[in-house]
Amino acid sequence: MIALNIAAQEIRVGLRNRWVIATTLLLAALALSLVLLGSAPTGTVGADPLAIVVVSLASLTIFLIPLIALLLSFDGIVGEHERGTLILLLSYPVSRWQVVVGKVLGQTAILAVATLVGYGAAGAALAAQAEIGANAWAAYTGMLATSVMLGAAFIALGCLASTLVRERATAAGLAVGVWLFFVLIYDSALLGLLVADQGRTVGETGLNLLLLFNPADAYRLFNMTATESVSVYSGMAGPGDPSGLGPATLLAALVAWILLPLTLAVAAFQRRPI
């Protein structure tokens, strides 16, 4: 109950300082532009247009959502500490875990509203233009849900960064580092590793495991292989199971990527001197 109060306050602040409206507009604009330009590269090939949108939108989401999530969350604890509002909050009958969980919940709700409204608008615009198959709708809904989960994972990571450091600037730097590492560096490093290794020690299982160690990769795999029509456009189609990781495993990895940083953030916050 207390955690929900803190979450609600986070949302209220988000509405007041226009975070909600800004991120919603940004995501809607990008998604709509992809939808409206989307048919240009493929022409009218009779393919499900929504399947194409899922592929291009998911690729965009991998860069954008983690960034927005980290921007929302890095300030959460350390910012309140620096502004002096944290000591007052903790003098109330609240537990520290409630503060962390409440903030993560509230920020995730902000991101969820932005994603669902922004991407939902794009889906609706597309549905008005063309016939959409049930399969593509399923892939689209799956993408919406996992986008929110990806956001939640990076919000939890940002919150962890926020509880670990003493200054806002350090938390901001850490957040940028987290984004660079998971979104840009990780895949290149993985590719480099595979090339250098020449398949001697890192087998298929090893690679699959390594892909699960990055929430962005788990998200990518889930959405690129969501349905057969999507797999075709993402280049993931092939005989047999392309990734070797089922959707359940990938979803579990995303959930773990939300819960693990969150637990660590709670533990770190318990020890933080106020």
Binding site: V13, N17, G84, L88, P93, S95, I274
Partner: protein, 306 residues
């Protein structure tokens, strides 16, 4: 009288720094206590210990019989109202919205919030954003939030720091009103002279230790303070007056018709009796030492002792 809160032989280290050293202090119901001391004397640490924000390195703290940093700490905090030093609020919110948020955290109805805001003179500003508030108004909002849920103990950490004299006066008159309503209050301050007469009890902190604890009158007696007398005498009789007073007094300043004397508080009545019989003495002004001087004496005693 029942104890609302208690520190028992509390010591707290921050790394190598000892912020509080073996402090035992009890806050009794209905009593207003001033916690005085210079910056870094350990006042805020004592308050944070009481709120359960930090744990003692040694000793124990209890609020209404519970350990504030323990399992039932949240329950204990429900009975506390706290005004932090340099209170800060989210500027984008209005006073009314912030009061609603804090009332919900305490599980209190929102219906009393308007009344509390009116009590601190913020009725007209309740629906304005806090970022438009002056420092004095923010401080008053801070006081209003301490009153949510009629707490049994108010902890005010430097409630007047950084305020102009008019705002300080407002804060003090509010503290007076809370006292009149029977609240138990702990005010930490270094504005000793201003708080002195408004509290029942004074606890003096110095260098992390509790230097003295008692009513102002108790402390004055204990500290062996000096009373200052200013006499107006018939011109050129200062020597006669001094001779007759003897060694009990010390002359600080001397002019043709004016004498300034200091004497131990214990000898006060004796000297006044003598002065009353002297024709040469036309007027007597007496000043008893305030908290400020008391504090200086206590600290000086402590430093010569160690």
């Amino acid at each position: 009288m029942t104890a609302i809160a208690q520190w028992s032989s509390v010591t707290r280290h921050f790394g190598k720094v000892t912020a509080v050293q073996d402090v035992s202090l009890t806050l009794k119901a209905g009593e207003a206590t001033a916690l005085v001391g210079h910056n870094g004397a350990g006042k805020t640490t004592l308050i944070k210990l009481l709120l359960g924000l930090i744990r003692p390195s040694a000793g124990s703290v209890s609020v209404l019989g519970a350990d504030p940093a323990g399992r039932n700490g949240a329950g204990a905090r429900r009975a506390l109202g706290f005004l932090p030093e340099n209170v800060a609020f989210h500027g984008a919110m209005t006073g009314q919205e912030l009061m609603a948020f804090y009332a919900r955290l305490k599980g209190e109805p929102l219906s009393r919030n308007r009344e509390l805001l009116a009590l601190v003179g913020l009725a007209d500003a309740a629906d304005r954003r806090v970022s438009t508030y002056s420092k004095g108004m923010r401080q008053r909002l801070g006081l209003a939030q301490t009153l949510i849920g009629a707490p049994r103990l108010l902890l005010l950490d430097e409630p007047t720091s950084g305020l102009d004299p008019a705002s300080r006066g407002e804060v003090y008159s509010m503290i007076d009103r809370f006292r009149a309503d029977g609240a138990t209050i702990l005010v930490s301050t270094h504005a000793l002279a201003e708080i002195g007469e408004r509290v029942d009890r004074v606890a003096v902190m110095h260098g992390g230790g509790l230097l003295a604890d008692g009513s102002l009158a108790d402390l004055r007696r204990g500290a062996d303070l000096e009373v200052r007398l200013t006499l107006r005498v018939t011109p050129c009789t200062t020597g006669t007056v001094l001779d007759r007073l003897g060694t009990a007094v010390r002359c600080v300043a001397r002019a043709e018709s004016r004498l300034e004397l200091t004497l131990p508080a214990g000898a006060k009545m004796d000297v006044l009796g003598k002065l009353a019989t002297m024709r040469e003495v036309e007027d007597v002004e007496m000043s008893t030492p305030g908290l400020e001087e008391l504090y200086r004496t206590l600290v000086a005693d402590k430093e010569t002792a160690t």
